[in-house]
Symmetry: C2
Subunit: 218 residues, 2 copies
């Protein structure tokens, strides 16, 4: 019985090229227009695709948005785990901070932070997909730091991560204001050494290996 296999596709198959074009265009629009102004029409136009082609794949605006975030995952490589721990620490923090306006991923991150108040669920999903992994990577590096003896074993690494990530986000968001350009290196030095006075002799000082890897473009 050639009883046509139920899963046998008939007719013209969906264009994988259109799939890609839609996802790419969605990220572009998200980066440029933000979530509030994210419209299916804009995505279709940017992708060079009919709206019907989008609605054939997604139920509506929100699904397109969600799919775009999924697709983003591949777009954002985690900082490579190489170099000494201090270097890696700097790289991870820079990977949160640096690509702000320079890369599409950075602009999207800004837009999502932006939408936090209006779309808390979206923020949560972004945290889970993008910021969370970086934070875990950071905690991992700090844990190595404990093993290697340059991080105080008594401190709560989650708090440390917040202390380090916070300024990165801050500098990211306020990149246009007078406080803009404090090097990541200084933040790390300060966090490691502490602000309070004591016997002195900053842990960092003029760390010889300060050169920060040329932040991989998105």
């Amino acid at each position: 019985m050639t009883a046509a296999r139920a899963d046998a596709p008939r007719g013209r198959p969906r264009s994988v090229e259109a799939d890609r074009a839609i996802a790419e265009a969605a990220l572009d629009v998200l980066a440029d227009q933000g979530i509030a102004d994210f419209s299916v029409e804009a995505v279709a136009h940017r992708a060079g695709v009919g709206k019907a082609t989008i609605y054939r794949r997604y139920a509506g605006r929100d699904e397109v948005l969600a799919a775009a975030l999924d697709y983003l995952h591949d777009d954002l490589p985690l900082a490579p785990p190489q170099g000494c721990a201090r270097e890696r620490l700097e790289m991870v923090l820079d990977s949160i901070r640096t690509p702000m306006m320079a890369t599409r991923s950075g602009r999207i991150m800004a837009q999502v932070i932006s939408a936090s108040a209006q779309h808390p669920d979206f923020l949560a999903s972004f945290y889970e997909r993008v910021l969370g992994p970086r934070r875990r990577l950071l905690v991992g590096i700090l844990r190595e730091g404990v093993d290697e003896g340059w991080v105080d074993p008594q401190v709560d690494l989650d708090v440390v991560a917040t202390l380090l990530v916070g300024p990165m986000i801050f500098l990211k968001v306020w990149h246009g204001t007078p406080v803009a350009s404090i090097p990541t290196e200084q933040i790390i030095d300060l966090a490691l050494g502490g602000i309070g006075v004591r016997d002195r002799r900053r842990a960092g000082g003029a760390a010889p290996l300060g050169d920060l890897a040329p932040a991989s473009d998105s």
Copy 2:
């Protein structure tokens, strides 16, 4: 020749009550809806005022928004400078972080941070009006800390301010995520004490008054 003085107002004067109602309603809408969804219609409805009454005062949406920000200034008292330095430090930082969702000003702050990507100019003006003064207050307290001997005189206070404010903003924005509830106190302790290991004798422990590195200077 009672040549009517040119500045003599004739006819019904504008209602100052309407002025107030519009400003208040604008802030409410801004806090609840955000900048993107900030509509003149919503403000008018909330203020119990005709749209014409608003357009008689402002040229359009943007002017209403700007006026609302001006009006916000009075609404946001700076943290009072009392208590010991450490207490004041905590108060200033909490004044940035805590009122997030609890107060209208806090919600507005979140909304403005939100709009940063789409309205960088708006962010700048908000920085100037609200965050800037708090940051200066913070730097002032830190400077006293230097005088009093519990802040390292060699560190750049601007960087310190960023190291402290950053986590506050971060915790503010990500208040819905797993990292939510780290006490401000812990951030301060950590920033003061530093993460790196040294002769140690962690400032933390169960210090009652945040024993600021007992300048033991051993």
